[in-house]
Symmetry: C2
Subunit: 245 residues, 2 copies
C-alpha cells in the first residue's frame, strides 16, 4: 500500500524537514516516529520538498509504503493525537503504488511574508520577517522580480555545492501588498537550496535602493553567489502549495 500525506507545520523549533542522524528535531523524523509506532515497524516517508531549518509549510506533501491497508480517517486521528502541536496532517489518501511525492510534484508555490508596520507582528511573529526602516520601492522590486522569471541558471541564487544542473524554471514572482505586509509569492517547477530566500533578500536590497533591478542579470550571467543579496531569514518562508501537474 502507498499512502500520501498532506502536512502543515510551523518550522520554528525544527532543523528542517529532512531526517538527521544527530537530531530528533526534524519534521520527517517526528512523523516517521509516530507512523512507525502505529504500524509496529519502521516507516520511511518521502517528502516533496526538503524545507530548511525554521521554514514552515501550509501544504507539504509526502508518501510512504506499507504492507498493511489502513483506514485513512483512523490513521489521521492517531497521528494528529501523537504529533507535536506544531505539526499536523490534514489529509491521508491511498495512492497508486507508483506515486512518489518528490518525483510527482511538478510545481511548488512558496510564500515569503515581510512585516512592514512600525509595531511588532505580535500574532504573526513566528511566521514573518519584520522589516524595520524605510519604505520599499515596490516598482523597482517588481522590475527585479520580472527579470528573474523564466528558465535560467540560478547558480548565483543558491548555496548548493552540487555539480548537478542548477537550471530551473521560475514561473512567476508576484508581490502582494497588504496593510502591514509585503508578500512574495514565488512559483516554480523546482527550487535550489536557499533559492527563494536569496531571491527575496536580493529583491529587498533592490527595494531599499541598495542595488538596481538590472543587477540580478549579472547574477544570472555569472552564477556568482557573492553578487546576489543576503539570504532572507528562514522564519518568513512558507511552503504554500504543491501541484502534481
Amino acid at each position: 500500500m502507498n499512502y500520501k500525506l498532506s502536512v502543515v507545520y510551523e518550522g520554528t523549533r525544527y532543523k528542517g524537514w529532512q531526517r538527521q542522524k544527530n537530531s530528533e528535531m526534524t519534521i520527517q523524523g517526528k512523523i516517521e516516529s509516530v507512523l512507525s509506532r502505529y504500524f509496529g515497524h519502521p516507516i520511511e516517508i518521502n517528502g516533496a520538498s526538503r524545507t530548511d531549518a525554521g521554514v514552515h509549510a501550509a501544504a507539504q506533501v509526502a508518501n510512504f509504503k506499507t504492507d498493511r491497508a489502513v483506514e485513512a480517517k483512523e490513521l489521521m486521528a492517531y497521528v494528529n493525537q501523537y504529533l507535536p502541536e506544531d505539526i499536523g496532517i490534514f489529509e491521508i489518501e491511498a495512492v497508486p503504488e507508483s506515486y512518489h511525492a518528490r518525483f510527482h510534484t511538478k510545481r511548488k508555490v512558496y510564500l515569503y511574508r515581510l512585516w512592514t508596520a512600525d509595531y511588532p507582528p505580535v500574532f504573526q511573529r513566528r511566521e514573518v520577517f519584520w522589516h524595520r526602516g524605510a519604505s520599499l520601492d515596490m516598482e523597482a522590486m517588481k522590475e527585479g522580480a520580472k527579470l528573474l522569471e523564466g528558465k535560467h541558471d540560478f547558480k548565483g541564487f543558491c548555496t548548493d555545492k552540487t555539480k548537478k544542473s542548477t537550471e530551473r524554471n521560475l514561473r512567476e514572482i508576484s508581490i502582494a501588498v497588504t496593510e502591514n505586509e509585503i508578500r512574495f509569492i514565488v512559483e516554480g517547477d523546482g527550487f535550489l537550496y536557499n533559492m527563494v530566500r536569496i531571491i527575496v533578500g536580493t529583491l529587498l536590497e533592490i527595494g531599499e535602493g541598495k542595488r538596481t533591478p538590472e543587477s540580478v542579470l549579472r547574477v544570472l550571467e555569472t552564477g556568482d553567489r557573492a553578487l546576489a543579496g543576503e539570504t532572507a531569514p528562514a522564519q518568513g518562508l512558507l511552503l504554500y502549495k504543491t501541484f502534481d501537474e
Copy 2:
C-alpha cells in the same frame, strides 16, 4: 499631558491585563515598566478592559498622564523596542486631559475562535480553542444567541461576586462559519467577569445538543451560574475592538 495607547497582545504567557503585586507577568505591568523607564518616573496606565489570564487583544485601549510632552512616534518606537515580542503598541496619540480609557469606552467587541477541523490548528494554536468531536447544530446555537441579545441581568453568566449591578446591554452575538472555524462575535456596552467565555461555553453545549436554546432564559431569570454552561477556555478569546461612542 494625557496619552492614549492602542495595544495588541497575545495573552498566553500572562496573568491577564491588570497589574498584580505578586507577579511581573501582566500586560499592564509590562507596559508601565517600559513607560516608567522612558519617562524616568513611575507611570500608571488605565485600560479599557481587564482581560483575564490567557486572553488576547487585537485592540486594547489605555491612557496615562504625565507632565512631559513627547513625540508620539518616538515614544512608540521606544516602547515597541523594549516590550516583550508578544505585546505591541500600534498607536499613541495625545488626548484631552479629561479622557479616561475605561469610562470613555462605550462599546466593546470580543471574538471567540473555535477550531473545528479534524487536524490541529498549527499556526493558530495559541489563539483558538480546538473543539474536537461531533459537528455543532448551528441553528440551535444561533437561536440561543438571539435569546441573550438585549438588556438583561447577566448575573448567571458571570463569576463576579460583586454587589454592583449585573445588568448589561448585549448588543449582538453573531456567529460566522469559515472552513475550519466557528467565530462568535460578541458586542456589548460592557461585560462582566468571564461573561463572554460563559456565554460561548453555554452556546457550545446548545450546539452539542446537551441543552436547549431556551435553557438560557432560565439562567437569565434565576441569575444562577450553576444553570449556565462551562466557561470556555481563555485562549480562544480576543478583545477585538473598542469604541468611544
